[in-house]
Symmetry: C2
Subunit: 177 residues, 2 copies
DNA sequence: TATTGTTATACTCTATAACTATA
DNA sequence: TATAGTTATAGAGTATAACAATA
């Protein structure tokens, strides 16, 4: 169920061991040796998982191009967004909300702190946990990211039209339930 | 843009530094300290990328549970399927069609050969390339996989209904173009 | 006892690049 | 020169498990 963003899924017809019966080949006049032919996906393209994976790869690629100058990856953006919307949130909550493993989140937050975008503060109510905040620099970067990502979202929406985007979001949500 | 399969995205309301103004708190009668409150996704849930990623994770998890007894992963399934549908295909074609890097494909094929599911044969027409085939064991496993994955597909379709599944596939395809 | 953050390991996957043998 | 397959490396991400501090 790997996905591709390369639509040129053709191959040399000659390389197939069974590209059709001898009668088939006689009926369809033989092309040059280098003639390209689309490969058979064997029903893979009717699978929801394959389709949703291909779409995810395509959307993420556009996302990554949109914010390439910032070096921010999708998971980092989602973490910054959730912290900004819920200042003082603790790591365990971010982990649960976004489905990022605790141990993984530690490493990402280390990097965000090193870049001066987020910080861990002491929590008043639970000395085990950290209260997460964006720094002013983190707030500014997030504002800038949201501009670029807004354009990205408009590009994605343009492929669907406004009412079909809403329909897609609803259908995807139903797959998760 | 990380995704979760955990719908319990709630946190202790107490841990927010700014869970609302003092007036707000007075207006909404204060709950017990352990009262849970949903976190604010800060608009993340309106992003196509976030939604499509969450859906992809959810669908793949169901897929993986469906075939857990075989130790087959989505990429392996897609490779087996494409080889079965196009016997004699060469590695570069599989790589292009499925968007798997050449070097990565080498490793996966090594594993499939070691498990006796696929084999590399000499190509008649280009001594650089290999003609890929499933072994009889590979054919049998793929048939069995298709039964399990058929059930998986029906579970996914049941969340959508038949006409909405077709609509979803169309919308996802439009995102890729 | 359970939770929070941390550290570590193994594995999957992507991206990149070099290398060989063929074309 | 370009392509097919191979090998290697670095980085991102998942899955697990152990551990200390704290609840």
């Amino acid at each position: 169920m790997a996905a591709t963003d390369d639509s040129s899924v053709e191959v040399d017809a000659d390389e197939f061991d069974r590209a059709g019966s001898a009668a088939d080949r006689a009926a369809r006049p033989r092309q040059r040796a280098r003639r390209q032919r689309a490969i058979d996906f064997g029903g893979l393209d009717t699978h929801v998982g394959y389709a949703v994976r291909r779409a995810q790869v395509a959307v993420f690629q556009d996302f990554l191009r949109s914010v390439a100058n910032t070096g921010i990856r999708p998971a980092q953006f989602s973490i910054l967004t959730v912290i900004a919307a819920n200042p003082g949130l603790k790591q365990a909550d971010v982990s649960r909300a976004l489905g990022i493993e605790r141990g993984r989140l530690v490493l990402v937050l280390n990097e965000l702190e090193k870049r001066g975008l987020a910080r861990r503060a002491a929590s008043d109510i639970d000395r085990r946990s950290h209260a997460l905040h964006l720094t002013p620099k983190g707030e500014r970067l997030l504002a800038q990211l949201n501009l670029s990502i807004g354009e990205h979202e408009r590009r994605m929406s343009a492929k669907l039209g406004p009412e079909d985007k809403a329909r897609l979001m609803d259908l995807l949500r139903r797959l998760v339930d």
